[in-house]
């Protein structure tokens, strides 16, 4: 007799891998109940893909939804959520996206998505919550994200590889991106709690 833990482990694998065949003998529901289990697999993938797409709209704007959606599908399979708050899911996605072979020609992509991740979080901040973040970039992505936030597009834009130290601030939908010098950045970092920088 399968225990509750056995059943849940089997169903977890079936849902994540979208393959209920191994669990068919313990399911009831029509002649091929494993096909009905696919509803849960579909919901798992669709809801998390939607959550990631909605979390990274500027990244989608930059590289298109096909690449982000495709990468999200494998991210969700390989790195399922570990916590019940889905709005917090996806902090590892920028690095995963940047490491995807289709992003090989886009060396700035991981940092762009990470910058967006923090701006998205800070946009929901209040005085009582964490409302500041310090980030060091290897590309001048603050100008690019500025184009997105102001819905503008230059005729031509050359991305510069350089050290950029940023202070990000957010409060009830208002965002500020302040450039710092390396010295200012180091000073702020030493004064801020762990987690307020990347």
């Amino acid at each position: 007799m399968l225990t509750l833990a056995d059943i849940q482990a089997g169903l977890r694998d079936a849902v994540i891998n979208d393959n209920g065949t191994a669990m068919a003998s313990v399911l009831v529901g029509g002649r091929r109940p494993e096909h009905r289990l696919a509803i849960h697999s579909r919901h798992y993938t669709a809801s998390l893909t939607r959550a990631l797409i909605e979390r990274f709209p500027a990244t989608v704007w930059l590289v298109g939804s096909e690449l982000v959606t495709h990468t999200a599908a494998s991210f969700i399979r390989e790195h399922p959520p570990t916590k019940p708050c889905i709005a917090e899911y996806g902090d590892g996605f920028p690095r995963y996206l940047g490491a995807h072979h289709a992003a090989a020609a886009l060396p700035y992509l991981a940092q762009f998505a990470e910058l967006e991740w923090h701006l998205g979080r800070l946009a929901l901040a209040t005085e009582e919550s964490a409302n500041m973040h310090y980030i060091h970039l290897g590309w001048s992505l603050d100008e690019l994200i500025g184009f997105y936030l102001t819905d503008t597009a230059p005729d031509e834009y050359a991305l510069r590889q350089e050290d950029v130290w940023l202070e990000l601030r957010g409060l009830r939908g208002d965002l500020q991106i302040n450039r710092l010098t390396g010295e200012e950045f180091a000073r702020q970092l030493s004064a801020e709690p762990t987690g307020a920088h990347s």
Binding site: T3, V15, V26, R31, H40, T82, K83, P84, L124
Partner: protein
């Protein structure tokens, strides 16, 4: 600890709506005429500004907290860090109800973001009852348990869903949220009589009713069959309204929430759905009075 609380008598007078984040600014600005608001707390844990707006709304509306991430049926325990975060939110909002699902979502450190079916066995009953006790102790108030929407069941079950719900109420004294649309959908998918299910539901434990839309699709498990999928992406369907009237006759005028989660419509449409529920409740009340007279 002893859990005692009067569950929201005022909310029985007017139907409430499931409040989703895209509607919150409009609700704050317009204060629409709905009886109460039900939220998924997991949507607000990472949204301090949203929680601020909700706290403002809590001054004008009764709030109900409907959890989706507690995973009360998980064999390897519930996430106590999550529970503590929810407790802080519950303390801040002082809701009229706190509820969640008879389901599981997490195992082995993986959270599946879905409500998965439980086998109805004595082992599951023991697990769910223990977690229910823990949740109620942390929140210091009753935790109301919702019946699931089902596409499959587990062959290892030794009880029906109804027998399990009765046993859970008997063992824990918990209250129940009867999702009428889930009853209709599960009755269709699993081949039982939804009206009889309502007749045999533990009526004395009912604290709230839910209504939501579902999506019919081809049932790949039964050639030519149709499966109803609990998408909350449509208006409440006619058969569910009929079952809702039956539930009101059986359970009395219980607090009701209309839910809509996907393909979210304009707020006005959701408010219209709540008004339909008010109309059904009024009709049932008048019928009852007419028969009593």
């Amino acid at each position: 600890m002893a859990i005692t609380s009067d569950i929201a008598p005022s909310t029985a007078e007017r139907t409430g709506i499931g409040l989703r984040l895209p509607h919150i600014a409009e609700v704050v600005a317009t204060r629409p005429p709905v009886g109460w608001l039900e939220i998924h707390p997991e949507n607000f844990l990472a949204n301090p500004h949203g929680l601020e707006l909700l706290t403002d709304l809590a001054r004008d509306y009764p709030i109900s907290v409907h959890t989706v991430g507690i995973s009360i049926g998980s064999a390897d325990g519930i996430d106590r860090v999550h529970l503590r975060r929810l407790r802080a939110l519950v303390d801040r909002l002082n809701p009229v109800l706190v509820s969640g699902h008879l389901a599981w979502s997490a195992t082995g450190g993986t959270y599946l973001n879905d409500l998965l079916p439980l086998p109805y066995t004595t082992e599951t009953l023991r697990v769910v009852a223990a977690h229910l006790g823990e949740v109620q102790d942390v929140f210091g108030r009753p935790y109301v348990v919702e019946n699931p929407s089902s596409y499959v069941s587990l062959a290892t079950s030794t009880m029906t869903e109804l027998e399990f719900l009765h046993a859970l109420v008997n063992d824990t004294g918990c209250r129940l949220l009867c999702d009428v649309s889930n009853v209709h959908l599960s009755g269709h998918n699993m081949g039982y009589d939804a009206y009889r299910f309502i007749d045999e539901f533990p009526a004395a434990a009912v604290a709230e009713l839910h209504l939501g839309g579902f999506t019919p699709e081809d049932d790949e498990a039964i050639p030519g069959g149709t499966l109803l999928v609990d998408t909350h992406a449509h208006a409440v369907a006619d058969p569910a309204w009929g079952l809702y009237a039956h539930a009101l006759r059986r359970f009395g005028p219980q607090p009701t929430i209309v839910e809509w989660d996907n393909d979210l419509p304009a707020l006005a449409i959701l408010i219209d759905e709540a008004a339909k529920a008010d109309h059904v409740r009024q009709t049932v009340r008048e019928d009852r009075h007419a028969h009593a007279g």
